[in-house]
């Protein structure tokens, strides 16, 4: 064809055909290989559910599902298994946690998204993420050693021991904070700028814009954040078990936040290690796990639906929308808000009627009364006008009831009624007064309130970290880091626990990395929206929502007992690997999807196969994101207790063993053991907590460093 093309050498000369040749095309083979690996999640979740179900089935037969769900007594010593107190315990502690976390979380999210200047936001966001990095057992430890004495000081007459619903809700609330903050902040940031501009252009203050435009527009995201926070709190084990006192009773009266209670997760963690395999008790615990799974799945599913809907709302088409469209959009948003407020009124009603009737009759009947009452009101509320008129009085009723509930814990009945009247009257007087304030003044007050909320959140973080660091540092010594425990944990060091945690993390990663990364690649690059892909995605979602204690239960039933591995490093690693798998898959997929399609096109246009494009262009470009996900999951695996406490972890090892079949010591479990069983070992506890915290936070810092590096060096 041309002169120089001939002296090219043979390699690049053209065969004169574009017909298929011998050159091996990896694409088909790779696709099926990747798909097979990605199916692992489906298999895993199938087996988890199978094991729980099979083991729980005989309890359904022996106890009866109705007796199980509605029984008021949980007493394994007499083979009485009524899960009602545990279910109420879980529900109450979660409700309390959300009531604590929602104002703090939402306030912080609004502040970070709408008020804080960019610089401040860049500091605040990562600080809030630190909350998510602190292991559950460290929260529990902090609750036991710091919060409980504090609460006892505040309410000496009400809290004999300090362990209580109140303590559990505060700790769980703190743990739900990062979820609520980050998800609702994302939702508010996703509200198009044009909305804010349109509102500001009409002369609204920043606060009015936030309150009337941004928050309503982001309401479904905020709702999802709340629900996800609830999901997180319900599945939590270690922290809640360490501070709630674990008495399986329904509080009396039902709103007595000073009462001790016990959650489903805590029951599993407490009783699983001692139960005889195959007994009714054993099977009842699995049934309990099933109930927990159903609760968590229902909650996560609701959140997913809400998020899906809000995604649709702000699809990419926004920029093309005309002004007219925006107006209708506004109206729609307003409708959503109204719906949401209606829903919350209904929820208040439901709760109120439940509380009131529970004073006279049993919980089940109260439930029925509550449902009936709610239904009557639903039909009444059918027209908006009625709803609007009633909304105010309902709010006041709710205020009255909550004021009564709160004061009745301290005062006798008649005094409580008086207090409630005063509160409601005060509200009635102050609401119109507040309405008359100038917009500017309102804004100032609002911003001040938001700022104080953020300050409280930061204070909590600082107190936790400062307390552990300041009291943990003196414990650190060479002997502590490299010695073996002595005197049953009262002295010596934590060397085998450090090594054990490293072993667990390394083993977990060896299993989870390949599975997770390959599944992520498959989902991002190769999967189409087929039914099978949707099943895989569903399986990942379920796995992601499964509480960590359920993983532990599965590990124990399937690996320790059924396969007869016994307490062993390998059992812990597999269990932990299943737990972190969905995190790795998700982050890998997200990182790969973030690679612009132009790069793929460039590679394919050069005649590269899909597999070559994926491995040589896409994955290197997504490397930062993938590594970030891996490190985060590593941090999570290092801090978890529940999955290893009945699969791999023991309280003492006299030597370090590299065998996969030996049990190990682990930092989180060691911390739990010391705090739970070894009074007087406070120094050791602080030291262990500090080492664990440093280890986990180090990984989180590393992850954000990698992310930062890569987002800087690669700009599309």
């Amino acid at each position: 064809m041309c002169a120089f093309r001939h002296n090219e050498g043979d390699h690049l000369s053209h065969e004169n055909t574009i017909k298929k040749t011998k050159r091996f095309n990896h694409d088909k083979v790779m696709k099926y290989f990747l798909m097979a690996v990605a199916s692992a999640t489906v298999v895993i979740i199938f087996f988890i559910i199978l094991f729980i179900f099979v083991n729980g089935a005989s309890a359904i037969r022996d106890i009866g599902i109705w007796n199980f769900l509605t029984g008021f007594e949980w007493r394994p010593s007499t083979d009485t298994y009524g899960a009602m107190p545990l279910i109420t315990g879980t529900a109450l502690v979660t409700i309390g946690a959300i009531m604590f976390a929602l104002p703090l979380g939402l306030g912080s999210a609004i502040f970070i998204s709408e008020v804080a200047p960019k610089r401040l936001r860049n500091v605040l966001k990562p600080m809030c993420e630190v909350f998510a990095g602190i292991p559950s057992v460290v929260y529990g430890f902090f609750g036991m050693i710091f919060l409980i004495p504090l609460l006892r000081g505040f309410f000496p007459d009400h809290l004999l021991f300090g362990t209580s619903w109140l303590a559990g809700s505060i700790i769980l609330g703190i743990m739900a904070l990062p979820t609520i903050i980050s998800v609702s902040e994302d939702a508010m940031r996703a509200v198009p700028r044009s909305y804010r501009e349109a509102s500001m252009a009409m002369g609204a203050t920043k606060w009015e814009t936030t309150r009337r435009v941004v928050v309503p527009a982001a309401i479904s995201g905020i709702a999802a954040a709340t629900i996800l926070g609830i999901g997180r709190a319900i599945g939590e084990t270690m922290a809640v078990m360490m501070v709630t006192g674990n008495t399986p009773i329904v509080p009396e009266p039902l709103w007595n936040i000073f009462e001790m209670l016990r959650t489903i997760t805590a029951t599993l963690a407490l009783e699983m290690p001692e139960v005889v395999s195959g007994s009714v008790h054993y099977s009842a615990l699995f049934l309990l796990a099933l109930v927990l799974m159903v609760m968590v799945l229902a909650i996560n599913y609701t959140a997913k639906m809400i998020i899906k809907r809000s995604r649709k709302k702000f699809g990419e088409t926004i920029s093309k929308k005309s002004l007219l469209d925006k107006v209708t959009e506004h109206e729609k948003v307003a409708k959503h808000t109204k719906m949401f407020s209606k829903m919350s009124i209904l929820a208040c009603l439901f709760a109120a009627s439940f509380f009131i009737s529970s004073m006279f009759v049993g919980a089940v009947i109260s439930l029925i009364v509550a449902v009936l009452a709610t239904m009557v009101f639903v039909s009444l509320m059918y027209t908006d006008k009625v709803a609007f008129k009633m909304g105010r009085s309902l709010m006041l009723t709710a205020l009255f009831i909550s004021a009564y509930m709160a004061s009745s814990l301290f005062l006798d009945a008649s005094a409580s009624v008086l207090v409630s009247f005063i509160v409601v009257t005060a509200a009635l007087i102050s609401i119109p007064l507040a309405k008359r304030l100038l917009a500017k003044t309102k804004e100032k007050i609002a911003h001040f309130v938001l700022l104080s909320i953020v300050a409280v959140v930061l204070m909590i973080l600082i107190v936790i970290v400062y307390d552990i660091v300041s009291k943990g540092l003196p414990a650190l010594s060479l002997n502590f880091l490299f010695g073996y425990p002595e005197d049953g944990g009262l002295g010596g060091g934590i060397f085998p626990a450090i090594v054990g945690t490293i072993q667990l993390v390394v083993g977990t990663m060896m299993i989870a990395f390949p599975l997770g990364i390959i599944s992520g690649i498959y989902l991002a690059e190769y999967s189409k929206d087929t039914r099978y892909t949707r099943i895989i995605r569903e399986a990942i979602d379920i796995l992601n929502g499964t509480p960590s204690v359920v993983f532990g239960l599965f590990g124990m039933a399937a690996l320790v007992i059924y396969l007869g591995v016994g307490y062993a490093l390998i059992a812990g690693c597999i269990t932990l690997a299943f737990m972190v798998l969905p995190v790795i898959i998700r982050t890998t997929e997200e990182a790969i999807l973030a690679v612009p399609k132009e790069l793929r096109e460039a590679s394919l246009a050069l005649g590269a196969s899909k597999w070559e494009t994926t491995t040589k262009v896409v994955i290197p470009a997504a490397f930062g994101g993938v590594v970030t996900g891996l490190i985060l999951s590593l941090g999570r695996a290092a801090g978890e207790t529940a999955p290893i406490m009945f699969t791999a972890a023991v309280v003492f090892r006299s030597s370090v063993s590299l065998s996969l079949l030996d049990p190990v010591m682990a930092l989180p479990y060691h911390l739990f053991f010391l705090a739970w069983e070894v009074p007087g070992s406070e120094t050791m506890q602080y030291g262990t907590a500090l080492v664990l915290l440093l280890m986990v936070l180090f990984m989180f810092a590393l992850a954000s460093l990698v992310r930062h590096r890569y987002s800087k060096s690669i700009k599309w």
């Binding site: 004169n16 055909t17 298929k20 394919l604 005649g607 040589k616």
Partner: protein
Amino acid sequence: MDIVGFNLWYGEKQALFDVGMNVRKNKITALIGPSGCGKSTLIRCMNRMNDLIDGCRVEGSMFFQGQDIYGKDTDVMALRKRIGMIFQKPNPFPMSIRDNITYGPRIHGITKQSELDEIMERSLKQAALWDEVHDRLEQSALSLSGGQQQRLCIARTLSINPEVILMDEPTSALDPIATAKIEDLAISLEKDYTVVIVTHNMQQAARISDYTGFMYMGKMIEFDDTEKIFNKPSEDLTERYITGRFG
């Protein structure tokens, strides 16, 4: 390359209607037409980049040296190796300049370092980029300017020595000076390669192309010598578009 009675659908929506044209060897063929008329769609069909789009369906034939591009036994990778493509937005890989250029040859089985070096130097020189980058080959390609990046992409395509180069508005993201460089480049490539270029710039089409096709609403309205299209087009529509009296 011959295109006969070509139709294309994106899902339900038809984007190309009975398009016919032929691309002459070692000539520059330009495609012009208003936005959304299907120029990109057509040019992407020529090396089957539209395979990547879900729900995209074609009918009709495209022949490359007598073989059907959409034939059942076509090896798409071999096809794309012989028909390369430059995109509207420069899209260098986030790697070093050297790795960007050697990516293609490596994919096609060249491993010898000396050979790779030779190909790299040759392609960069052909793309008139060698003088600007030969002392910074290990730097990230993303550190280059937009115009340099686009020439790097051209060099990257040249590195696998295709016979046809498809360019979809290669200069629309560039300033006039960078544009002029790319145009010169296109003309200099003409003697060795066949070039198809999509452009919104009428002067550009007139300056550099030998043949021009005018498309409108997914149809090829007129296809002829550039000379003829710009001086005495046979279709009224073409004339109106060329003279800017459109709409």
